[in-house]
């Protein structure tokens, strides 16, 4: 995970990968973390840190070493499935062992993600669920 010390996402992570799956020569991906939503470090978490039923807003999808050369591909697929800045997301459930995988609902569709994928998704809690957790 490439992040600056203060916790704000690094603006330009450009990775050049050779995709094993597609056999394509190279896929260029510029991973911009979108600056539209300013979030203080204390408020943001990764998706895997949410509890069941909790609601949040996606801030960015970050690079991760877990997927090796496939990371850019995973990032792009997450974007395509709607894991983009500003998207509302909620946690539907967890698997049995070490709460893995995680089921989430985003843009009206439910997806199952492994912990490793969920760790790539940085979210901030929406005000609504913050209000709920205060009570």
């Amino acid at each position: 995970m490439i992040r600056l010390m203060d916790g704000t996402p690094q603006p330009e992570v450009t990775s050049q990968i050779t995709s094993q799956v597609t056999g394509e020569t190279a896929v260029h991906i510029a991973a911009h973390s979108l600056p539209a939503i300013a979030a203080s470090p204390a408020q943001t978490r990764t998706l895997d840190q949410l509890t069941k039923g909790e609601q949040a807003v996606v801030v960015s999808v970050e690079a991760s070493a877990a997927f090796g050369t496939l990371d850019a591909l995973v990032t792009r697929r997450l974007w395509e499935l709607g894991f983009l800045a500003g998207a509302q997301i909620s946690v539907v459930g967890f698997g049995l062992l070490s709460r893995d995988p995680i089921a989430v609902k985003i843009g009206g569709t439910k997806f199952a993600l492994r912990r490793a994928e969920a760790q790539k998704v940085r979210v901030k809690c929406s005000d609504k669920s913050e209000a709920e957790s205060m009570q």
Partner: protein, 636 residues
């Protein structure tokens, strides 16, 4: 299909109801093959419009995006952008849009639109979406998309009428004239016309989604609301503990039903076969023809036909589970468990289909993105108890296991059957774990599995699937099995017994010679020479072994009545140890040429195919040996 005036391709997200729409469009005029060079299934069909013009329809594998992550998706992209070797790009794209999940589908459509090929949008599942409260202005959507949009209901009889009319508008008036040259032209310029896809970064994807929001805002007055019961059902189905219990219950119920519900139907069929046999053979003179009909046709082929109800009940369950949207949830529940042996939830669906038949199961493994996981899934798929084993299991269990009840609810025979299924599953886990120890891989692969909303399985689609299975089964009975049985009848009837023979005639025949030669190898696991004879044609397909036993015992029998009922013969002639060893053998033995052929095709490796055959036979022999010896030990 060469005389079709128009070639259209259906494209859309997974779970958008595309296959049901394809079935509705093309009816039974379908042809399933493989794309040249790759092992992705190619479903083609055709329909004729009101003016009798023919239109070829291609069903492309479901995809979320043209930026591909699996072999399946790659085919879809290559066909669409015209880069597929030997394939002409389709004349018209029909983008199937799930009306209950507009956002994801519209994103793909905008991506497709950028390519600039002629395209129609089929707003599918529109009835379901309206039920869920969707209010959509189709005219406005059409206007802002700049593409024709028609409503379709893939599961209703006339649900594709508007689509057929819209496609017809793209058909040339004069049928088929000049099309060949046109196609050759386009084939020549094919490589030149390959369209470059734009790079996809967060900004361009965000821009597409902004456009999608614009489209939705312009045309959708009220959005779909997922019924509350769906979320409540998910709370149970995907509950880490209750969900797994429910899954176990569903699977157990399924296997009990296969055994219990099929019973009366099978008894009826058996009686029918016997009646027919008596009717045809009864008045005939003794002789070779009577023997061929009675021992080869009715005792051999007839003994397999009676298993049709069981196979159909099993397929009905699996098709219904597939249609309902339950399977991805099961994959979710089992993902972590399967990860511990190097697999993932994605391998669950191919493995479950392998319970029906390993051939579609092995083919379905291509949806697995991780090449190593895909290979392991293929290697263990034959350990799942396929429907062709049911005739073998049912015959032996019916003959040897008492019909008493266990704990008051369960049938002892059903419990035995379930145990055989469990044995196959446990063995596959062990094999996968061994494979994981042998080849360690460190990088993770994503799961990223959509959990589609629940839908009621549609009877029409279900019946079509069952009809296809019944046709395949009966065709096999009528061709492969019939031929093998005639051959076996010949080998088992000639030469006849010498004068003063003490054994039944079959003992002295060619088949008897083969059986007795093999007996040397199989005696340690308790197989008699009659069983050894049956194993040889049983290599073609497992259920053939049952037919072969039928013929062998019919020919060694002295009285007419034993010819038709195999079960009492086994009950009286086989020991419990032999019967159980025979069951254990069939849990593992790769006695199915189709499975081996499809494995070779999918892995494109003779080495892997040989490895699979070898390890399964080794396990079969070891398991049968242990079972035989242990049972002998305890029954003394």
């Amino acid at each position: 299909m060469s005389s079709a005036v128009l070639r259209v391709a259906l494209i859309g997200n997974p779970n958008c109801g595309k296959s049901a729409l394809f079935n509705l469009l093309t009816g039974s005029r379908q042809k399933v093959a493989n794309y040249p060079g790759v092992t992705v299934e190619k479903r083609e069909g055709e329909f004729t419009d009101a003016k009798r013009r023919r239109c070829a329809v291609l069903d492309l594998p479901g995809t979320y995006s043209l930026q591909v992550t699996s072999a399946d998706e790659r085919v879809t992209r290559d066909v669409v952008i015209g880069g597929f070797s030997g394939e002409l790009p389709p004349d018209l794209l029909v983008a199937v849009l799930d009306a209950t999940n507009l956002r994801l589908g519209l994103r793909l459509i905008l991506e497709l639109k950028a390519i600039g090929r002629p395209m129609i949008v089929a707003l599918n599942l529109i009835d379901l979406a309206r039920q869920r409260g969707l209010e959509i202005d189709v005219a406005k959507l059409q206007l802002s998309l700049g593409l024709p949009v028609v409503e379709t209901v893939g599961v209703r009889k006339r649900g594709a009428q508007a689509l057929v009319a819209a496609i017809a508008a793209f058909m040339p008036e004069a049928p088929a004239q000049g099309t060949p040259t046109k196609h050759t032209d386009s084939a020549m310029s094919n490589s030149l016309r390959r369209i470059a896809l734009p790079d996809a970064d967060a900004d361009s994807i965000q821009a597409l989604y902004t456009q999608v929001e614009g489209l939705l805002e312009a045309s959708v007055r009220k959005n779909c609301v997922l019924p509350a019961w769906q979320d409540r059902l998910d709370a149970l189905v995907m509950h880490p503990v209750l969900g797994l219990l429910l899954l176990a219950t569903v699977l157990f119920f399924m296997f009990q039903a296969v055994f219990a519900w099929a019973g009366p139907l099978m008894d009826g069929l058996t009686a029918g076969v016997m009646m027919l046999s008596d009717l045809v053979v009864g008045s005939m003179q003794e002789g070779p023809l009577k023997s061929l009909l009675r021992d080869g046709l009715f005792a051999g082929v007839g003994s397999v036909v009676v298993f049709l109800p069981q196979i159909l009940i099993l397929f009905a369950f699996i098709l219904a589970l597939e249609d309902s949207g339950y399977l991805p949830r099961a994959a979710f529940l089992l993902d972590r468990l399967m990860l511990s042996v190097g697999l993932s939830g994605r391998s669950f669906i191919p493995l479950l289909s392998s319970f029906a038949c390993a051939v579609p199961g092995i083919m379905a493994a291509r949806t697995i993105t991780n090449p190593r996981e895909r290979l392991v899934t293929i290697m263990i798929a034959p350990l799942m108890t396929c429907s062709a084993r049911l005739p073998v299991y049912t015959l032996i269990i019916g003959a040897m296991i008492p019909r008493q009840s266990v704990l008051g609810v369960f049938n002892m025979q059903g419990v035995t059957l379930f145990a055989l299924y469990v044995l196959g599953i446990v063995s596959s886990i062990l094999v996968a774990a061994l494979a994981q120890r042998a080849v360690k891989v460190r990088t993770a692969f994503p799961l990223l599995l959509e959990l589609p909303s629940y839908r009621w399985p549609h009877p029409r689609n279900l019946l079509m699937g069952l009809w296809e299975r019944a046709r395949i089964f009966l065709r096999r009975v009528g061709t492969t099995i019939l031929l093998l049985m005639i051959l076996l009848w010949f080998l088992a009837s000639y030469p006849g017994a010498p004068a003063g023979a003490t054994e039944p005639a079959v003992y002295y025949s060619f088949a008897g010679l083969i059986g007795r030669a093999l007996e040397v190898l199989f005696a340690p696991i308790g197989f008699s020479w009659q069983i050894c004879i049956a194993l040889v044609p049983g290599m073609a397909a497992r259920e053939v072994a049952v037919s072969a036993l039928g013929t062998v015992y019919a020919l060694s029998g002295t009285e007419d009545q034993v010819a038709n009922a195999l079960s009492p013969i086994i009950a009286s002639q086989w020991s419990l140890a032999t019967s159980l060893a025979f069951l254990a053998w069939f849990v593992y033995a790769p006695q199915c040429l189709s499975t081996l052929a499809v494995t070779q095709r999918e892995t494109n490796s003779w080495k892997m195919t040989a490895l699979m055959t070898g390890y399964l036979f080794a396990m079969a022999y070891a398991a049968a040996f242990l079972t035989y010896r242990i049972t002998l030990f305890f029954s003394q």
